[in-house]
Symmetry: C2
Subunit: 434 residues, 2 copies
Amino acid sequence: MKPLKVGLLGLGVVGGGVWNVLSRNGGEIARRAGRSIEVSRIAVRDMARARSKVGDAAAITTDPFEVVRDPEIDIVVELIGGYTLALELVREAIAQGKHVVTANKALLACHGNELFAAAREKGVMLVYEAAVAGGIPIIKALREGLSANRINWLAGIINGTTNFILSEMRSRGLSFEAALADAQRLGYAEADPTFDIEGVDAAHKLTLLASMAFGVPVQFDRAHVEGISKLAQEDIVHAENLGYRIKLLGITKLRPDGIELRVHPTLIPEGRLLANVEGAMNAVLVHGDAVGPTLYYGQGAGEEPTASAVIADLVDVARLQGAAPEQRVPYLAFQHDAMADTPILPIEDVRTAYYLRLHVDDQPGVLADIARILAEAEISIGSMIQRPHGDSGADIIFLTHQAVERDVNRAIGLIEQLPQVRSSVTRIRMENLA
Amino acid sequence: MKPLKVGLLGLGVVGGGVWNVLSRNGGEIARRAGRSIEVSRIAVRDMARARSKVGDAAAITTDPFEVVRDPEIDIVVELIGGYTLALELVREAIAQGKHVVTANKALLACHGNELFAAAREKGVMLVYEAAVAGGIPIIKALREGLSANRINWLAGIINGTTNFILSEMRSRGLSFEAALADAQRLGYAEADPTFDIEGVDAAHKLTLLASMAFGVPVQFDRAHVEGISKLAQEDIVHAENLGYRIKLLGITKLRPDGIELRVHPTLIPEGRLLANVEGAMNAVLVHGDAVGPTLYYGQGAGEEPTASAVIADLVDVARLQGAAPEQRVPYLAFQHDAMADTPILPIEDVRTAYYLRLHVDDQPGVLADIARILAEAEISIGSMIQRPHGDSGADIIFLTHQAVERDVNRAIGLIEQLPQVRSSVTRIRMENLA
């Protein structure tokens, strides 16, 4: 069969990885795909740099629209990122009847509904294994491998930067700021790390996973997004003493009344596999009603792991290029006319357990007052520790049983009004993941 | 689209699970597949029992060939097991032009080459996600998700019975016999547990994984197969004290001179995720050159986890039924005309690290003699402990660096001839999995 002609938009970290892996493993890949996959045209910003990498093996241009409109090209691989130029290019590629492979979670989490509809109309594939958890084939697992299941929930470590920072904070006792500086020095965090550390990147990925798990449109704007920048070293230590680790999790759950969709630091029992995912690694735990718990682990970012996912998509497209639309996997796992309108629940409706830390005056009655407030809000306490802290003060830590966030918010408001409570209450959600 | 008509051979544990999951999740599955999947005919041994389960919802027969030859049926799901009747039935189903879904690792590990060739000739699919690691979509990951990679090696806990027994031996200090009795009582081991405990079941699965990883024909007869029935409680304790856990691993590695293909008890560092896979759970660690390490974890057996995999295959077949052969994934991941003839290496050629335990007379010179034998065989020692054991005796445990098994065998033979060595040397292979 004739080679599949690929147009590459971007030759940065991931684009370079795609080039390298296709060059090195081209033979092995063709042994699987039944045809070779050939990058024939590349759009870049820096011609000279690109030329030094690819030589004369591909045409190079600085105009990405040239690639997208090239009639010789079967598939466009979008590795530019962001939602401005990338959005225009993917729109145009689809309009030109090209299949699109992208690693761009931000684009799909924010514009996926429009883009999938356009792709369906033109009968082209728009695939994105590399958009979530790098080289881990989690999208294939969710869209295909678990198709027999009603997915109950999933929880994932889907941002390597924050998991690296949290690992450093725990293992080396660093503050958030020091661990972030380390991550930047080692290339695990960008110069402007906001999207990673504030949970936005994880929420983009979670939004896609939730849509594939439950068959709902992508709704990034409904996700609760909370990062790790306010996490104190002392909470990591307290959590560890109580038998927990703190991870930035993306969690989505199907409940009878709607879908929970939330990214936040989370205490999880130290024995869980997810608790032992260290450094920049990613892992996603998916719970289906038939299969039970399944977990997928690997490198969530980096040149070649991400390229591995991009190329797996290319091989799929190579196989299914000539197939009828119904012979392909639906964009978001579910047929477009079978999508559900299950609402995404606001964070106040979330039901989970909580870690609460309070700094109080060490005086008689304070614990009684707090316990009364919690009881009146119907929040029951699983365990509690109190430790001296500072001058005639104490830290009290509660681990609650499951409660509704709205009730917890109200209780925290009342607790913070108590005269013996010295500062605002630290609240971290807890999941058992059983 | 019209429903996909499935003929089910067997309504035991897995067959019953398929029936239950399709009944419960039929709507959800059709939302994904775009058509419904309908079990229209079932072959069973006990008509009355089957009738009480399925009522009038499917035709029931005691003649499986009736199902296989039914012109109304699109796909045959073979859940009978074994290689006699199942082989005949799968052959006949293929001859009749039916697609086949099977959970039968023994059949494919021993007759896969013949069956895949027959299926190719007839242009039908023969898929087997449920044959390895139950509900974990490891076959989809290997055949499709990691298609960009040169697979370097994989190692898996792919037999739940033995992992359950090893977990009990470690956590409760039980002997192998006591843990096996427990496993039988709890339904994790069969009345005749030979295939599980002697590693045969794991070797069937590993044989399939190796073929998909490296693109070689299935060669079960070349696998090294060693079970856990001779494992002593004391070795589990020694391993633990040295920072290791013992797991029954299926390991396959691509080397420049061939493929290692082996199932045996293995010491692995306690911090590895694989070391923390407990009870009847399964996990497979796959190392690809681009993606690095990836791990897949879940329930490796049981009614609904296995049904989850069978039905995922049914959904794939439903999609690709009308597709051209080149639009489908190759049976063993690689195109049939691109299979390699890389040899499977004999166990004597395997290169790994070793745990060696010797029971010796506690006399001057014995350690010197042993150390000399090891040195002459070019086996270098990573660590060693010596403990008093019995009357004027001692246990010596060596952890060696990597060595060739042939050299280790020769050294063990010489060591066992030393007059101060009281019993045969216990040898357990060790893998770092890094």
